[in-house]
């Protein structure tokens, strides 16, 4: 078994898997059951001056038969009394001294921050997380993302927290900004010990077409909410990676956003997260998903010859380059495995209508490009009559084929192919060495 334990700005955790500050970490009883199931830590549901929630509060995107690929909520911070929360946090930490317990906080005035930080410390918690992320309700009251969107304010409040707190301070960032580096750098300047991101993305989850109002419906109306779940993972990965590769970000990152299984978690770790946090996947399937995360990460590390999770953290960061530094001479082409192909021709139509017309069909009329291979560089002003090809594979005319000279190696066909590993992208060796756009510019070619 690989060593999954982490040291996150001094906070020790038996593994990198934490509950995000959200309903799964709403009360002590829940967090304790989560720890029993295997979670290494939990960021408590945000505490502040308790609020009143609405009903309903959640919405979801189902896509092509998959439930909850995206999730949205209009709930606020905790609606439970602070006393109850603090008592539970104290008990939880006492019963689970080796697990990471972090208290998420959101208040307004400097005095409120001082008081609530003091009370949080008294619980024995390992750290506090400043929630500068909530994109609905709280921001209208000058908290949450309204702080996260103002680097100067964020820096100031972070500095207050550092002044009052003797335990590590995590700053949770909102994705609802132009450049994540602005609040990230501000947090570092304010003295933060770590960053967590992303909080939810500002969203409207859908429209009720019968009542002609928004979802999730509160009577006859609704409000914008926060979007999360599998659909936001790429946004979160980008923001985590952007921070991880920036030399000004010298503090550890807790990655959040759409993590559902060990693979998602491993990707965040490789892109520079030291811990990961999960909300939606637990809301969908329960704490038990952590079993697959632990075992899957362990197996992966073993297969890759890594003995500890720390060897994975940040390993993919050097691969995150500016576009201008990418090698323009690198070339791949699509390869269709005729044995695996089931003949759905999704690759054909995708390439034909959505890419570069270089996949051909032998089944019916073929509308792919039949002129000289030119990667579309010359004007194409006519719709050429389709051609008919003699099937290359007599009993499988539905198996399409790739005109390699015309293929620009975009991946589209491989992405739409429903059969695992049926279309692979093969590298075409070339004589020319690597050459990037920035090289072109430097050489005065661009």
């Amino acid at each position: 078994m690989a060593d999954l334990s982490i040291d996150f700005c001094g906070i020790k955790s038996p593994n990198p898997f934490w509950l995000a500050s959200a309903p799964p970490a709403n009360c002590g009883e829940q967090v304790m059951r989560a720890f029993d199931a295997g979670w290494g830590g939990a960021v408590w549901k945000t505490l502040g001056v308790p609020i009143t929630n609405v009903s309903s509060r959640f919405g979801a995107v189902d896509y092509a038969g998959s439930k909850v690929i995206g999730f949205n909520n209009i709930e606020l911070i905790t609606d439970r009394p602070l006393d109850a929360n603090f008592k539970e946090i104290t008990e939880t930490k006492k019963k689970y001294p080796d697990h990471a317990v972090i208290v998420s906080l959101m208040v307004e005035s400097k005095e409120e921050w001082r008081d609530i930080i003091k009370r949080s410390e008294d619980t024995g918690a390992d750290g506090i997380e400043l929630n500068f992320g909530c994109p609905h309700g709280m921001c209208e009251r000058g908290m949450g993302s309204s702080v996260g969107q103002e680097p100067a304010v964020l820096k100031e409040i972070t500095a207050w927290a550092k002044e009052y707190s003797s335990i590590p301070v995590l700053v949770k960032l909102t994705p609802n900004i132009g450049d994540i580096l602005d609040p990230g750098v501000a947090a570092v300047e304010g003295g933060a010990d770590a960053l967590s991101l992303i909080n939810t993305v500002k969203s409207i989850i859908g429209v009720d077409l019968d009542r002609l109002t928004l979802l999730p419906r509160v009577g006859d109306a609704s409000s914008n909410g926060g979007y999360c779940g599998p659909a936001v993972k790429p946004i979160a990965l980008h923001m985590v990676g952007a921070l991880a590769r920036d030399p000004r970000i010298t503090i550890p990152i807790s990655g959040i956003g759409g993590i559902s299984d060990w693979r998602d978690a491993a990707e965040f770790l490789a892109l520079g997260s030291t811990s990961v946090q999960v909300c939606t996947a637990v809301m969908h399937h329960g704490y038990r998903i952590v079993e697959d995360m632990i075992e899957g990460l362990d197996n992966y590390l073993e297969e890759k010859g890594m003995s500890s999770v720390h060897q994975l953290i940040g390993r993919a960061v050097p691969g995150f380059k500016d576009w201008g530094d990418l090698d323009l001479n690198y070339q791949i082409v699509a390869d269709i495995d005729a044995d695996k192909c089931i003949g759905c021709q999704l690759c054909y139509v995708a390439c034909l209508d959505g890419a570069h017309q270089c996949i051909h069909t032998d089944n019916g009329p073929c509308s792919a490009w039949h002129g000289e291979p030119d990667h579309g560089m010359n004007p194409r002003c006519e719709v050429a009559p389709p051609q008919r090809h003699e099937p290359r594979i007599a009993d499988k005319p539905h198996v399409p084929w790739v005109d390699e000279a015309e293929c620009i190696g975009c991946n589209l066909c491989a992405l739409v192919c429903p059969v695992p590993d049926c279309i692979t992208m093969r590298e075409i060796p070339n004589e020319a060495g690597p050459e990037s756009w920035n090289d072109h510019v430097a050489a005065g070619k661009a």
Partner: protein, 448 residues
């Protein structure tokens, strides 16, 4: 070990004429099927599995590409998870309970996913040498297990992984019990059963074949030499009702015939057989009927003393049999073999309703009306019930006799491999507890 077993088995067996009814999934098949599972909580498929495998858990791990952990999840509950994935009557077990039966009538193919995970993981283990399970340090305890069928094999594997030294005594040439000699070849060939046995033994289990307890060594000797004894001897020979059929080469016992089809190199059906009558309405009767039909016997019928609805054979199996041309004669009992010299010409049957007699012309009769108990031959003084099944406490698998545990067909009269696997596990864990040893936390749901 595997090579040696395969050599003993020999080639050119009739069972190789039967291809896999449910072949190993490809990666895509597994991917799509696994992603169809809803990952239900406290899922009905779990409680319908006699070994209580965390079915949603192992399926989700297939979906995330976590095959090794998926296989571990299966084996922790059921060490015979590989063969069970192929021989379990899933229609009446896990898949029969799947929530999709109520959603769109397409239950998850749990057995096939289980096969995918276990076979893939064992293949990977063989390739990389990275074992799924490592045994605990030696505890100094030794256990003798009688019979190398699924019950003993499961028991022995758990014991070995818990640091106990198990030795299995098997009267036959090959281990695996009915998995090797009895289950239908379109589900599992003997080779695959033996591969599974080799894997189970590889955790530190000793096997002594061609040693019959009660004959070559006494059970009491084993009780003296070992810290515990596990009785996993299954059931005995086919019961042959007496109606003038004794010693006729065209009147055969079903399990004996199946064993010949599966294991005997060069075995052929008696020459000239075109019409066969099977006596019995259980799964063994259906199995041999399907096998005979598959081997080209033109006219195969089963006679059963009551109606189809009352048969103990599964409906889904009987449906397959019918599709393959087997006919069922209900409310009929055998009266007399109509024979000339050694040859069978027909079977006289009487209606159990009207007592009226008729004759079914046939040239082969197969008796599938159950198996005898073989417990008495052990010479071990343990309590049996009126049908000769060993009496145990079902929580602990203990017999009334100090230091003797039992499980599998010999206690239940013949259920499924998965029941034997569950019994073996429970006995192993109870032995450990009886010695004050704390077994590791094997993940499974207690049977209900």
């Amino acid at each position: 070990m595997t090579a040696k077993f395969h050599e003993t088995l020999g080639a050119d067996r009739l069972e190789s004429k039967f291809p896999d009814a449910k072949p190993l999934y490809t990666e895509s098949e597994a991917y799509y099927e696994a992603n169809r599972c809803l990952f239900c909580y406290d899922a009905p498929c779990i409680s319908a599995c006699p070994t209580g495998i965390d079915v949603p858990g192992f399926i989700r791990k297939i979906a995330t590409g976590n095959i090794k952990a998926s296989a571990r999840t299966i084996f922790e509950a059921n060490m015979l998870g590989t063969s069970c994935s192929r021989v379990c009557p899933v229609e009446v077990l896990c898949a029969g309970a799947c929530v999709f039966n109520d959603l769109n009538g397409e239950p998850i193919h749990i057995g096939r996913l289980q096969r995918y995970a276990t076979e893939k993981a064992l293949f990977d283990e063989a390739e990389t040498g990275r074992k799924l399970f490592e045994p605990k340090p030696d505890t100094g305890k030794k256990v003798a297990l009688i019979g190398a069928g699924p019950a003993s094999l499961a028991c022995a594997a758990y014991l070995a992984l818990e640091g106990v030294k198990p030795t299995i005594f098997e009267r036959g040439k090959l281990p695996g019990g009915l998995n090797t000699t009895g289950v239908a070849p379109y589900k599992l060939h003997a080779e695959s059963s033996l591969d599974e046995v080799s894997w189970l033994l590889s955790h530190g289990v000793d096997l002594k074949t061609e040693v019959e307890v009660g004959k070559d060594v006494t059970a009491d000797q084993l009780r003296r030499d070992y810290d515990a004894v596990f009785v996993g001897i299954g059931m005995g020979d086919d019961r042959l009702l007496s109606f003038g059929n004794e010693n006729n080469p065209y009147v055969l016992g079903a399990t004996a015939l199946i064993e010949a089809i599966k294991n005997d190199a060069g075995f052929q059906l008696p020459p000239g057989v075109k019409t066969a009558v099977i006596v019995g309405g259980g799964n063994t009767a259906i199995d041999i009927a399907r096998q005979l039909a598959g081997l080209g016997v033109e006219d195969v019928s089963m006679i059963y003393r009551r109606t189809a609805a009352e048969m103990s054979g599964y409906k889904h199996e009987m449906d397959y049999a019918r599709k393959e041309g087997v006919t069922l004669v209900e409310n009929a009992r055998p009266v007399k073999v109509h024979q000339e010299e050694d040859r069978v010409l027909g079977l006289r049957v009487a209606s159990t309703v009207t007592d009226q007699e008729t004759e079914i012309a046939c040239d082969l009769i197969v008796m599938a009306v159950g198996q005898e108990s073989r417990v008495h031959a052990l010479g071990l003084d343990i309590e049996v019930n009126d049908r000769g099944h060993v009496v145990v406490d079902l929580e602990t698998m203990r017999t009334g006799r100090e230091g003797v545990w039992a499980g599998g067909d010999c206690i239940n009269g013949g259920k499924e491999v998965v029941n034997a696997a569950a019994d073996g596990r429970e006995a192993a864990l109870d032995m450990l507890r009886s010695w004050g040893l704390q077994p590791r936390k094997w993940r499974y749901s207690p049977s209900v």
